[in-house]
Amino acid sequence: MKTRRYFIFAGLLFALMACKKQDTILFEGEERISFFIGEYDVDSTSYTFAFDPVKKERDTIYLKMRIQGRTYDRARIIKIKPGAGTTAVLGEDFLFPEAVLPADSITIDYPVVLINTPKMETRALRIVAEVAVSDDFLPGGTGQVIDGTKAINSYKVWVSNKPERPVYWDDAEYYFGSFSATRIRFMISVLGISDFSYDVIGAYGSYTYPVILRNALVKYEATNGPLIDEFGQRVTF
């Protein structure tokens, strides 16, 4: 009989345990924000004022940022500061404006204002953008998330006024040939655009612009002779 009681007692005990309220894990912690990049993207980019069809005094590039934590029904302040290794001068060569994350937002494109200064004609300056502490955010955690994107807390921008090979040229080379400053300047002068990335010109531009450039080059060469680039190579399309 005692054994049966033990079984009944044990059964009641299990039943009581089963009825125990489960704790739901909710986010608790500081509000944070970080830059984020695609799975195969690198944590840096380059920009040059050299290829703009019309000379620019300033330009703006945008860095993608994403919060880590809850959304709020109020706007929140984001601050970015120059990180270690920055060779450009804040306020002189570039600006990190205080940005506002709108209410209920998760991501924002943070604007980095680049200023065209004479020293950029001779050397590329490095800007390291780092997430700074603001009233609303701390720097976020880093690493890859489920969707493949990566959270980082510093992003490097190389800025110059020298004709440098754009990062997208690996893809553009198939359509427009190997990079040279002479080639891209000719392309800009004919087409009136300076960004030849596939994202901007699409398949149509990739297949059509080379014909326009080739015809324009025929006219150019009729007057000026072959167009030779800075590597001593004849430019063709």
Binding site: M1, R4, Y204, Y207, T208, I212, N215
Partner: protein
């Protein structure tokens, strides 16, 4: 001891339970396999596939046969389906409605629901919704210095001036040609393009609404002459030849770019004959009458180069890179999705020749003698069959059938001596109809000849004759 007793009780109870389960398992299970009819409804229609012209009424009568002796209470539903959408057409027994669906083929599901027992019975069929201008001949003709485009539909209904009706537009000068431009399997992006000497007018092929003029079609328009249009065999690129220059448009891989302007002329030292020789799926041939050789462009290519001189096997037939003759005509013969044959009429001081280009190589080269093929050397009007190794050619008022294999020709038909044949075109879809345009003074006529299994004209006369045209300068088929 107490433990043993508990074990003994437990085993005893388990034995009892097992015996009870066995007894339950052995009991008979009352099953009823008797059948009773559920009242199947039979649905009968005349055909399993119907054609209708958009915005016109369709009537599909249905015969419903219920179980014997039963007057059923039924509900009906006509449903048209595509991969993208479902349309409810009617809830009546017979389909008797105006079809305002977009032109394409639909799967129709006809459902009869027996209201007494809730059972549904279905019948599947196809419905082809054609635009009002679904298929037919595009006839470009001129009168008094003004061009007009007439559409003769496949069912012989004539639309004398669909461009004028749709756009309140008349061509300001003579037409040179009109093309139906459709990349294979991309009917959604097809168009109709009419050329005058200075302008192109592009129309929606289903409505004839104007969709663009020169600036929307060519980047740097500068007048039109010697025009040819076709896509490559694989549809990856489109080619427009104009004034001896080649322009390339986007194709099947980028359908959203198909209607964007063609490239400027690709440039180079050549003078192309107006023919797109799409005999191969990886590259397309052209012919340069300046240096008298074939040229080629690979798919996705935007440069034109002299064609390779072929293999040793084919060099003794023809050196495509050095032909040395002037092209007079290039006509598409039998074509599959991966290769095709083109018959090229050429001439030099010695006379005329026919060359065959099959896939990437020459397959035929023979001199054509007027003694065997009357007046062959006097014309530029040719049309090749897609079924037989035949070409039709027209000289003055006469129509001949040229048998390519036999290298001989026979007279098929003579119009009255006052008539002059101005263009001929074969229906590429069937190769069973030849359209022949004639001019008598200032009055044009379009004659449709049916073609029999020997390539000759059925009954030796035109099957249909359409009058009231001006000078017909070009026939094309949509």
């Amino acid at each position: 001891m107490k433990g043993n007793r508990f074990l003994k009780y437990t085993i005893g109870h388990l034995r009892l339970g097992l015996i009870a389960l066995l007894m339950q398992g052995c009991s008979s299970f009352e099953q009823d396999f008797s059948l009773s009819p559920i009242g199947e409804v039979k649905i009968l229609m005349e055909k399993s596939e119907y054609d209708v012209v958009q915005l016109e009424k369709i009537h599909i009568p249905v015969t419903i046969t219920g179980p014997s002796g039963k007057t059923g209470r039924y509900a009906y539903r006509w449903k048209a389906m595509t991969n993208e959408a479902v349309y409810i057409l009617s809830d009546k027994k017979d389909l008797d409605t105006i079809i305002n669906l977009p032109p394409q083929q639909y799967n129709i599901q006809y459902t009869v629901t027996d209201l007494d027992n809730g059972l549904e019975f279905n019948k599947q069929l196809f419905l082809n919704v054609n635009g009002a201008f679904y298929e037919g001949w595009l006839v470009s003709h001129n009168q008094g210095g003004k061009g007009k485009l007439t559409f003769i539909r496949a069912d012989n209904v004539v639309f004398p001036d669909p461009v004028g009706q749709a756009n309140n537009l008349s061509f300001p000068e003579n037409l040179k040609s009109t093309f139906y431009t459709q990349i294979p399997y991309r009917a959604k992006y097809a168009s109709i393009a009419s050329f005058t000497g200075t302008e192109i007018f592009r129309f929606d092929p289903n409505t004839f609404k104007l969709t663009g003029k020169s600036q929307e079609v060519f980047m740097s328009p500068s007048g039109y002459d010697g025009i040819a249009w076709d896509s490559g065999l694989s549809g990856i690129d489109q080619y427009f030849i104009n004034k001896g220059e080649i322009h390339v448009g986007m194709g099947d891989f980028y359908p959203e770019d198909i209607l964007k302007p063609y490239t400027p002329g690709l440039g180079g030292d050549y003078d192309l004959f107006p023919a797109v020789i799409s005999s191969n799926s990886r590259k397309t041939f052209f012919y340069d009458n300046k240096y008298k050789r074939f040229m080629e462009i690979p798919y996705f290519g935007r440069e034109i180069t002299p064609a390779a001189n072929g293999s040793n096997t084919t060099l003794n037939i023809l050196d495509m890179s050095n032909v040395g003759k002037t092209m007079i005509a290039a006509e598409k013969g039998r074509v599959t999705s991966s290769s095709g044959v083109f018959y090229c009429v050429m001439e030099d001081n010695e006379g005329r020749y026919v060359a065959g280009i099959t896939n990437t190589d020459p397959s035929l080269f023979q001199k054509v003698m007027d003694s065997q093929c009357p007046e062959f050397s006097k014309t530029k009007l040719f049309a090749a069959s897609g079924l037989f190794q035949h070409m039709y050619y027209a000289v003055g008022n006469k129509l001949y059938l040229y048998n390519i294999v036999a290298n001989t020709a026979e007279l098929l038909y003579s119009f009255p001596s006052s008539y002059t044949i101005t263009d001929i075109e074969i229906n590429r879809k069937t190769s069973r109809t030849l359209a022949v345009a004639t001019l008598d003074g200032t009055s044009g006529t379009l004659n449709l000849f049916d073609i029999n299994d020997l390539g000759q004209f059925v009954d030796g006369t035109p099957k249909k004759v359409f009058g009231n045209f001006g000078h017909i300068v070009h026939i094309n088929i949509k």
